[in-house]
């Protein structure tokens, strides 16, 4: 009897945890969409803010956000995956590996404002990029590097020894084995890492305010012009409207767009991951 009660209480508590979590998330998403959707119009999405007309538009912020996501991923993904492969597959010095793993775990958890400082000193000043989207993206690349390294490493470690032995036993060299068997089997973990990384990039404001600026002005569509321009991403714009203008209607609309954008990006990342897997596995 007591045993049974114990089971029931345990299960109820767990159910409660799941229900509260799911409820909170749904409420949050629902509330943001409810408050934000109304303010989203075609003009809101397709123009820049105009003081003359007194209209609000966030096209520059959308472009800037997409730019920052793509550039920071393009910089951090090869570097992070490469480092993870080296650390898990090649590095012989256990101490060195442990030290790097510990460092990257720590770096993944430190406040982003510290990355902002690094970005200002390294990219904006030392490399003379000034406050630009490129400087901001590169700073974010450093920030997401630990996340990508850790998730790639975890996923490499789950590839069964039997696959590796199978490949090596056929006379495959080590790098060939990694490229053709180990990496394709790890794509899921790498994609998960990217999704987490994109989440951090999209959610970041402090770093970008210091390294990429807060301009709401329309920039060119060309990549090189965007790189050299200073501009606000959606999150920075949200901050700007909520904090400086106390315009919560616009802030909520931006929040809704951020939500939708994140969902789209995550779905496309998983989709790309699956395609990539099919491609390498033939």
């Amino acid at each position: 009897m007591r045993r049974k009660l114990y089971e029931i209480v345990g299960r109820t508590l767990l159910y409660g945890c799941a229900a509260v979590t799911a409820g909170l998330l749904l409420f949050l998403a629902g509330y943001i969409l409810f408050r934000g959707i109304g303010g989203i119009s075609w003009r809101f999405l397709s123009t820049a803010e105009s003081v003359i007309h007194g209209t609000v538009g966030i096209l520059p912020a959308i472009k800037n956000t997409v730019f920052v996501i793509l550039v920071s991923l393009a910089a951090a993904l090869p570097l992070g995956v490469g480092a993870a492969v080296y650390l898990t597959e090649y590095a012989r010095n256990r101490r060195f590996v442990a030290a790097v793993e510990f460092a990257s775990e720590t770096l993944a958890g430190i406040p982003s404002i510290i990355y902002a400082l690094v970005g200002v000193i390294l990219f904006c000043t030392a490399l003379k990029l000034q406050k630009t989207l490129l400087a901001g993206s590169l700073t974010l690349a450093i920030m997401i590097l630990p996340t990508i390294i850790r998730s790639t490493q975890e996923s490499l470690k789950t590839v069964p020894v039997s696959y590796r032995e199978g490949a090596l036993g056929l006379g495959s060299g080590k790098w060939h084995m990694i490229r053709t068997v180990v990496l394709p089997s790890s794509i899921d973990g790498i994609v998960t890492g990217c999704i987490l990384a994109v989440g951090r990039v999209v959610g970041e404001s402090a770093v970008l305010m210091y390294t990429a600026g807060m301009s709401m002005a329309m920039q060119s569509f060309s990549i090189d012009r965007l790189a050299g321009a200073s501009g606000a991403t959606l999150t920075v714009a949200l901050y700007h409207y909520a904090k400086e203008n106390a315009d919560f209607a616009v802030a909520f609309s931006i929040a809704a767009i951020l939500l939708i954008l994140t969902v789209i990006i995550n779905f496309s990342a998983s989709f790309l991951g699956r395609k990539l897997k099919e491609l390498t596995y033939g």
């Binding site: 490949a167 090596l168 006379g171 495959s172 053709t180 068997v181 033939g282």
Partner: protein
């Protein structure tokens, strides 16, 4: 007597402090099936894996003495290990097909060694699958994932995958121990068929299997080679008392 293809002389093997093979001297003849038997932990797998240098993957191992393949030292410092493994294929205990299509599994080796032409690959894949006696079962679903096959089919696929690189020697480490009796007997038949073209070394726990398919048997105990000779003779009149105890089931 067929020509010797693999030859061990005073071969010792260490995992760190563990002395896993002690002073092994053994000549394996070509186009024969040689069975390695002995109780668990006696060093059968270790010996098998020294032959294709699969033990290189483990840290802290050490090999001394001589082990040659067609007269050339396997552990020579300038030995090309990938070339060696191409010549000496291996089938593992548990079937380990890659998580890709049946076709790509078999084509993996040839592609690794630079064969790209579709027609040539098609040809190799079909021939290897036929040689591994699994062609009829998979010919209509070559593009399907290999993990969907049954255990016995997966193991024959792994044999096909090994054959596709045209090895000279095939090492099989208890390759039927995870399979049902029907699959096991198919693979045994296959091994006897394959010895025309290949030299086969099998590790087996199963003495009936050694008797059924092998020409020669090596009995290992605690890292030592106790007895090596003609299978029929060894099972009818073992020379060493310990061999007799083992094959009559008195231990292990």
């Amino acid at each position: 007597m067929a020509e010797t293809i693999l030859s061990a002389r005073n071969l010792d093997f260490y995992y760190g402090e563990t002395h896993a093979l002690k002073d092994i001297c053994l000549d394996i003849p070509e186009h024969n099936i040689t069975a390695l038997i002995g109780p668990s932990g006696c060093g059968k797998s270790t010996f098998l894996r020294t032959i294709n240098r699969m033990n290189d993957l483990i840290e802290g191992v050490r090999v001394t003495g001589s082990l040659t393949y067609r007269g050339a030292e396997i552990y020579a410092p300038d030995r090309d290990v990938t070339e060696l493994r191409k010549n000496i294929g291996m089938v593992f205990q548990k079937p380990n097909p890659f998580p890709m299509s049946i076709y790509d599994n078999v084509a993996y080796g040839p592609r690794t060694h630079g064969i790209r032409a579709k027609a040539k690959l098609d040809d190799i894949v079909e021939r290897s699958l036929r040689d591994a006696a699994i062609w009829d079962e998979v010919k209509d679903r070559l593009k399907k994932n290999a993990l969907g096959l049954s255990g016995g089919q997966q193991q024959r696929l792994c044999i096909a995958r090994a054959l596709a690189v045209k090895p000279d020697v095939l090492l099989m480490d208890e390759s039927t121990s995870a399979l049902d009796p029907i699959s096991t007997s198919r693979i045994e038949d296959l091994a006897m068929e394959l010895k025309k073209d290949y030299t086969i070394v099998i590790v087996t726990h199963n003495m009936q299997q050694a008797v059924r398919i092998s020409d020669r048997t090596a009995f290992f105990l605690l890292g030592e080679l106790i007895e090596f000779g003609d299978t029929e003779k060894m099972f009818s009149q073992p020379e060493d008392r310990r061999t007799e105890d083992y094959i009559t089931g008195r231990f292990g």
